[in-house]
Assembly symmetry: C2
Homo-oligomer: 146 residues x 2
Amino acid sequence: MKIGLLAAKTGLSIQTIRFYERKSLLAAPERTASNYRSYSEDALKQLLFIKQCRALDMTIEEIKLVLETRANPENSCENVNTTIDKHVDDIEHRIAELKALQGTLVSIRSACDHNKKVKECGVLHQLDSIAEACSSNTDNESQLIC
Amino acid sequence: MKIGLLAAKTGLSIQTIRFYERKSLLAAPERTASNYRSYSEDALKQLLFIKQCRALDMTIEEIKLVLETRANPENSCENVNTTIDKHVDDIEHRIAELKALQGTLVSIRSACDHNKKVKECGVLHQLDSIAEACSSNTDNESQLIC
DNA sequence: TGTAAACTCTATACTTGGTATAGAGTCAAG
DNA sequence: CTTGACTCTATACCAAGTATAGAGTTTACA
């Protein structure tokens, strides 16, 4: 099958498929006489596997590692598990970060409930004063913000 | 003050400061006779403000908008508030996404508790079977995963 | 005064995970 | 036989910086 059909079947764009080939996630396929890429069913399966991993937010390098491990059925799956574990950890951290950010934003936002002029805007004042505090202070409390 | 001192005071790298100048977040400063950038205290304050906004995960374009709004005290602060509101929304979505991802990952991970061989690894089998389901099915349930 | 270290300058390339183009060649239908 | 759909390579672009080379400048110390 040619790349357009493969793209339609996987839901990936043609450029993305070529990009994965360049990144060695997907083996370079056979070519037709006119130099068109010609894919097997295996390529389709591989791409769906990759797509699934990307949906889990794995990086291309991580996916490459998993694919290499998977290539030999006698390998230990240890580093696949390690990769997933690290991922779970990373995402947990990111969620915590975003929640903290959310809290700060909501608190800042509450400083200006109505549309006012810039000079009266509590949101801008907050942004300013936090910045100033970070400039002059070295105590722990403001370090937390800065 | 020269760029090195400004970098030390703000905690930003020299390259980042020059990068912000190129992106028009920070006005191009005066130059010394030997073409070194020479910054005022205002530049320091501006950079701290920018840093604060970046810590809130605002994009450079958003910060530019806020800075432009802030530049005229008689302006309405409406779009500052809109920017923050949109941000809060974006982060909420992102947190929801990450939580869903986390759930999927944990569930997949539970399929292989011990280090086994690749061919026996439940994690790999799960990744495979989800990918295959997405390949052949068009019903709503598997769409949710794919 | 000499010189070596530390600083600064511009310009360019690299990162991640793609997306978007130009310009050329190929294939199928009418 | 030509038009439109498809494919090819190569290159540039996105965010938000980071890293480098190679050149010039300033500062500290002997």
